[in-house]
Symmetry: C2
Subunit: 445 residues, 2 copies
Amino acid sequence: MTELAGEDARTETDAASDLQEVWPVLSTEERLEGLRTFPPGEAEDFLLSLPARDQAELILAMRPPERRFWMRLLPLDDAADVIQAAPEEEREGLLGLLDDSARKELAALLAYAEDEAGGLMNPHYARLRPEMSVDEAITYLRRQARERLETIYYVYVLDPEQRLLGVVTFRELFSAPPSKTVRDIMHTDVVVAHEEMDQEALSRLFQEHNFLAIPVIDDERHVKGIVTVDDIVDVVQEEATEDIQKFGGMEALDAPYLDIAFGTMVRKRAGWLSALFIGEMLTATAMGHFEAEIARAVILALFVPLIISSGGNSGSQASTLVVRALALGELKLRDWWRVVRRELAAGLALGSILATIGFARILTWQALFHPYGEHYILVALTVATSLIGVVTWGTLAGSMLPLLLRRLGFDPASASAPFVATLVDVSGIVIYFTMASLILGGTLL
Amino acid sequence: MTELAGEDARTETDAASDLQEVWPVLSTEERLEGLRTFPPGEAEDFLLSLPARDQAELILAMRPPERRFWMRLLPLDDAADVIQAAPEEEREGLLGLLDDSARKELAALLAYAEDEAGGLMNPHYARLRPEMSVDEAITYLRRQARERLETIYYVYVLDPEQRLLGVVTFRELFSAPPSKTVRDIMHTDVVVAHEEMDQEALSRLFQEHNFLAIPVIDDERHVKGIVTVDDIVDVVQEEATEDIQKFGGMEALDAPYLDIAFGTMVRKRAGWLSALFIGEMLTATAMGHFEAEIARAVILALFVPLIISSGGNSGSQASTLVVRALALGELKLRDWWRVVRRELAAGLALGSILATIGFARILTWQALFHPYGEHYILVALTVATSLIGVVTWGTLAGSMLPLLLRRLGFDPASASAPFVATLVDVSGIVIYFTMASLILGGTLL
């Protein structure tokens, strides 16, 4: 939290960094013991630097008085994360440790999904009335500065119904003539986030504007809280990890690799792996259709892995590019026709490069070891034309599939790359053996 | 920049968001014309919200007086980015537009690599002397607040040689008793970044500590500038994009998908694609070794794509997990033995699941269509045992390769997933045909 960062700019001690080193391999009891070796002030810093999952684990392992102490110490948005990270049956109990007003505010926070603006915000922020003079405002803020606010550096100007009128930075207030009122110096066109805004959209808003904080409002422009940029760094990292794991063909793990239970991890990987396996079974069916051709010219079978993997690799390049560009907002659905033209041209260029290498390889091997028989030129031609076809098709399919998934309302990152590879493998076999019939018909076939 | 965000918390107007919408398809002239339609204050906001590449393009298209105006308006670290984004031959000219002192500071900034702490920092920051009283400090800061500082919210306390003594947040200063001195309230154990710290390490430092700013120091603890958290959001996003593109088997593009020149994009993709293609040629060699077996039992060829792709998919899952965990610092090299045990167990579990599905599939197809001849049970057994072997090997290789790359000093993200797929394809063929000789020797082979 900015609040805590602001209040306490000290570094961690050696003890803290030692503990951080061995943290992943410690049991809950050992972690708790480690925490108790700190002087009180440092224990706070250390606990606050941990992810919510670890905080919850530790707090639940404590005795009741200690547990209450820590729950009351946490900033409200962190307390909400801890409660969400705790097992269902413990949440009520943790909530009960807070005082009345905190409990009420927290219940409001918990109603939001974790990945929307409302779930990221802190309900405490600095506020002013428009009719205050600059000097009154500074005095008033000096009082607020001693409370546990998220930040006093952006101050929101509210009407009596708590609706947002404007914003003023502390710095503007600080350097303004004392005789002016807050209304004179405030900005009225504030960048805001709706309470249900998705965290990915919210992080784009922060990137566009470079603000330290953005207020969260409801339909009636009531300010519900503020989100600060330091929480957005975590969001960006988290979303990137999710996307990368989906690229890798699995469900997002939502936990550090070494922390996640073995069974959960296997389950998250087995689902997609089995789905892809069942899809890849179509390759056996496709190959079965060309069993007669393979029997007549076994040489054709030798190049199947080479050809389908080239289609898969080029498709996975294209889908990676498009998925990431969609996630960053560089690409919109309506750009699809530009993507088609670009990827068609790229596919033809890349296919021709691989075809040239493949053609040269077969001719060289033939000259050196004579493995491909008398029709080696025709075999080389089959492989080369198939490569152009497969790579072009792979590139096109790889770039269009994420757009199609997005259009249908799915997450384009979901297993795009391996899914494309499977699709391209099957069609690659068909393209290859069709080329072979056309070129080798009457000679080898 | 926090500076500008702080100074101007207004939203973009409708005109600005309209322009942002069509931005990617506009020519440089149209972009410049669009910029000129804004009232002066808003044109600044808009230009400042653009990436450095676009800022450079626009500024270079302007006439000299306008060009100077904009170069002098940019905060120093942004100006450095613009100069770095401009073509080599234009840089000297852009630097010449600045006044003497700015030029000197900028030349110092440009000596840093773009992706290290020194290249991200702003050399202007708020500073105090330790012997000042709180009231003197506030007055002094009030004067500094009117200058173009990055932020006044973290104030650094320096000795006469500009060496860092401590830090105090503005808020602490603001709520401290006026009689105290800065030395009384400052924190002396400051989290700092060395000027050559890599931006990925720097972003982890921000994530651990949740600070708004971190000072950058040299070997003698002189403060060279500060890095603010809003720049770190961009860094995290940029590093994730690089990693994702490397996962997808290509060089990082370093530019938005629709902006990058076609030739550059094809070159960045063709390099890795050709390397992988040349690697995959080994599959043809491997298949060639088993040509006699395929000729005797064509049925074996049908399952080659299924088996090698299963190895590739499981390997790419494992390498994705490990590469990301390394990037996030969740995993260290010395954890390799834990990873081996975990992935060996995961590979056996996943391989057994796929083996069961594959076995069931062959038996079902045989019952329905009789495609696999009298030895179908042995064929099914060959496929199932090969799957266990290939998936276990793929998982193990996929998890170990990134650790090996890191150990050798390479970037583990570089084409890990497709490289693993290629490695596993070749060894998958060998495993499969070896199993076939063992199980089918004397019957089909």
